[in-house]
């Protein structure tokens, strides 16, 4: 079973080296590796259902000296999300980069980014997480520089890189404090030791603020729209669907596994308030934005905000069962957003290539040219808004009922306003696309097989997650998340 962990952590690195050494084989190699990774993650889910926590001590040292890889239900689910999205984006990228040289440059960096995501989700060591965060930030910025609109993309990548570096510095400072106070970096061992103390509190603040920058929670989101909207489409998909999400995953681990003794309701309310502002402000900006990709990027800001709404509610819920329910909803929401947003970005990528632009007011009638893609946009959009069959519907429903149970009715208001705004920006796009106007002449290449990944992802978000919600809950129930559940 620990072979699965090794495979998930190292296979992307092997793939990166393979793509670097034999560029011409990369187009063939990448889908195979992506497929293998999906297989591994599904097997891992299966294994997790039997044994809730799988540990692998790298180098055979274990304990507090070495580094361990660890998978539990939460990380296994996110790994599954990551590998599925990566597979779709990999298939898409083969068609998307028409220039050979650009594609040869793309693949090694792509697999490094993927390796960083997997390594982060599997790591059980605070400093190792810092290295994975740096690999994540650097490879993400490196991939952003491959964007078509050069100066724009480069500027966005630079800003992304610098803010990411500041975030990792804050994180590293927190790690130094934790090591000084507790003498170890291993998360399982720290989870049993951390007590409320001045150093722990400061460490929590530093770690959280560093990760919040990377997570793009308002008002630390300034880098996200530019970076996510100017990157190549498959990269945007992974950035929005996975990269911000894995930093959020790390925050969950910190708050609910490591620093449970330190975290206070006031802190949680502050986080929740920031999340609420992000929900409304992000949706508003998405509604106002003139470009499709920018709209999708701002939508990410707002959807990330929802995830933070869960934090004060989770902390306030009285008993184990209701917490487990709310936590399952949180994970479901994250998975739903990941898949739907990836589908949306891929679909927008197709529209952009077909029309040569992604201006919202000039896409009239594009549905007649790209019916499959626009269907994917509609499906993904309904999953993002949270229409009934989708996972987001269940998640929002749980959020609302939990907020009423804990007498924090104001979160309900935020969720409703955010949903209405989301519906508004979606209707705006779909209305324009399905409008009966004469379509502009096509400028890009035809991409028939390129449309499939987006469609499949979108269908998965709307139908698959909604129907598969029950297994996710039951998978999460036994371990939940460390100390709080």
């Amino acid at each position: 079973m620990s072979d699965l962990l090794i495979a998930l952590a190292t296979l992307p690195l092997w793939a990166s080296l393979g793509c670097l050494l034999w560029p011409r084989l990369a187009d063939l190699l990448s889908p195979l590796v992506a497929l293998a990774l999906v297989g591994c993650s599904l097997l891992l889910l299966d294994a997790i259902a039997a044994t809730p926590v799988i540990l692998h001590h790298l180098g055979g040292w274990g304990g507090d000296l070495g580094i361990s890889l660890r998978a539990d239900a939460l990380s296994a689910l996110l790994l599954a999300l990551g590998t599925v999205v990566t597979l779709a984006a990999t298939l898409f990228a083969r068609r998307y980069f028409t220039d050979d040289q650009v594609r040869y440059r793309f693949w090694p960096l792509w697999w490094l980014l993927n390796g960083a995501i997997n390594a982060l989700l599997l790591s059980a060591d605070l400093f190792n997480l810092y290295v994975t965060l740096e690999l994540l930030g650097l490879s993400a910025a490196a991939l952003c520089t491959l964007g078509k609109d050069k100066p724009q993309a480069l500027r966005a990548a630079l800003r992304y890189l610098l803010l990411g570096l500041i975030g990792s510095l804050l994180y590293l400072t927190g790690v130094a404090l934790v090591y000084a106070e507790y003498g170890t970096l291993a998360i399982p061992s720290l989870a049993q030791q951390i007590q409320a103390s001045p150093a722990s509190l400061t460490a929590l603040l530093l770690l959280s603020s560093g990760l919040l920058i990377k997570c793009a929670l308002l008002p630390l989101h300034i880098w996200l729209p530019a970076a996510h909207s100017s990157a190549p489409a498959p990269v945007s998909a992974v950035l929005s669907a996975l990269v911000v999400k894995v930093t959020f995953y790390l925050l969950l681990r910190l708050w609910f596994e490591l620093f449970t003794a330190v975290i206070t309701p006031a802190f949680a309310t502050l986080i929740g308030t920031m999340g609420a502002t992000a929900v409304i402000w992000g949706s508003w900006r998405a509604l106002m934005s003139t470009r499709l990709k920018l709209m999708a990027a701002y939508s990410t800001v707002s959807q990330m905000g929802y995830l933070f709404l869960f934090v004060p509610i989770l902390l306030a819920l009285p008993d184990h069962d209701s917490r487990a329910l709310a936590f399952g909803a949180l994970v479901l929401f994250a998975l739903n957003h990941g898949i739907a947003k990836a589908a949306l970005f891929l679909a927008i990528g197709i529209i952009q290539q077909r029309l040569g632009h992604d201006q919202v007011d000039r896409i009239n009638g594009v549905a007649r040219q790209l019916p499959v893609t626009l269907f994917a946009v509609a499906l993904a959009g309904s999953a993002l808004v949270g229409l009934p069959p989708s996972g987001a519907f269940l998640a929002k429903w749980t959020l609302i009922s939990a907020s009423l149970v804990t007498a924090q009715w104001w979160w309900l208001l935020v969720a409703v306003i955010g949903t209405l705004l989301a519906a508004a920006y979606l209707v705006r796009v779909l209305g324009a696309a399905f409008a009966p106007a004469e379509p502009p002449p096509p400028t890009g290449k035809q991409l028939l097989s390129g449309e499939l990944p987006a469609l499949l992802l979108a269908a998965m978000a709307t139908l698959g997650l909604g129907l598969g919600a029950a297994p996710i809950w039951s998978l999460l129930a036994p371990t939940g998340l460390g100390n709080i559940l």
Binding site: S2, D3, I6, A9, T10, L13, W14, S16, L17, L20, L21, P23, R24, H56, H57, L58, G59, G60, W61, G63, D64, L65, G66, I67, T98, D99, D100, Q101, V102, Y104, R105, L109, G115, A116, F127, N128, V131, E134, L135, L138, A141, A142, T145, L146, L177, Y179, A180, G183, T184, L185, A186, S197, P198, A199, L201, T202, A203, L205, L206, S209
Partner: protein, 319 residues
Amino acid sequence: MSWMLIDLTLCISLLILAVAALYARGLQQRVVFFIAFGLLCAIAWARLNAPDLALAEAAIGAGLTGALLLSALNDETDPQPPLTQPRLGRLLTTAITALLTLALCAAVVTLFPLHEGIAIQQLQQQMPHAGVVHPVTAVLLNFRAWDTLLELAVLLCAALTVLNLAPARPVTAHDSPLTGMLTRILLPLLTVTAGYLLWTGAHAPGGAFQAGAVLAAATVVLRLNNNPGFTHLRVGALRALLALGLLLFLGVGLLQTVLGGAFLQYPPSTAGFLILLIEAGAMLSIACMLSLVYLGGHLHPHWPCHAPSNGVDTWKRHS
């Protein structure tokens, strides 16, 4: 008492140099102050019994980063955009940073005295099985080898992007007899030093990163003297050189896994040899990557591949 005097002097000079490097008027002055800051820091670390870090900071932190910044000065010659941050925002960020710093200082004061951690106790028990005698190398390449492996991936990512993006740094060649002589003295010395650092890492301060940095310095010296260096390397060879370190590391890591052990576990009898092997590969890759980071990319018009490009993004079109 006298040591405390030295400590205080060092720390105050460090703070002064940091302020100078951050707030001096011209960028050029700031870079020079930054280099001085790094070198002083190396002294402070030597004082704190961290010779490995002193070496690394002098070679990589102050040396290579300093050289990188100095050569980047030319990029920044055009007028800078005016301050776009609103006043309130600036005030707010300053206030938050000040608060955070205050909290950090307070927390640091409460930390001491430290008690011996669990990790260090386990380290002392396991040292005999590490395969090398020098504890820092043991931690880097055995106990926490996964960190080091990922760190090589970080370097690879930076080097690839540099190759993808930037034009080669315009090198002002110095063909004067003076620099020629210096090169003739320095090159063999640097190469020997790199080899020595690599070898000695097993039982004394040194190791792949310091050795790689020294080797990178040799490449830079070569390039400054108008020597072609990397341009004569074939593209395939360059790719292989970049991949070598990570490839060896991953391969050796899998050795024991096949036999049912853990990933990155070394057989106890050959641990020392395997670590040296990994370090040798890593040194070459590190030297290649670091010198690429300094020299800039596109030394090869055909990076990453010799295929005839349909040229949307090739650098050549711009120039």
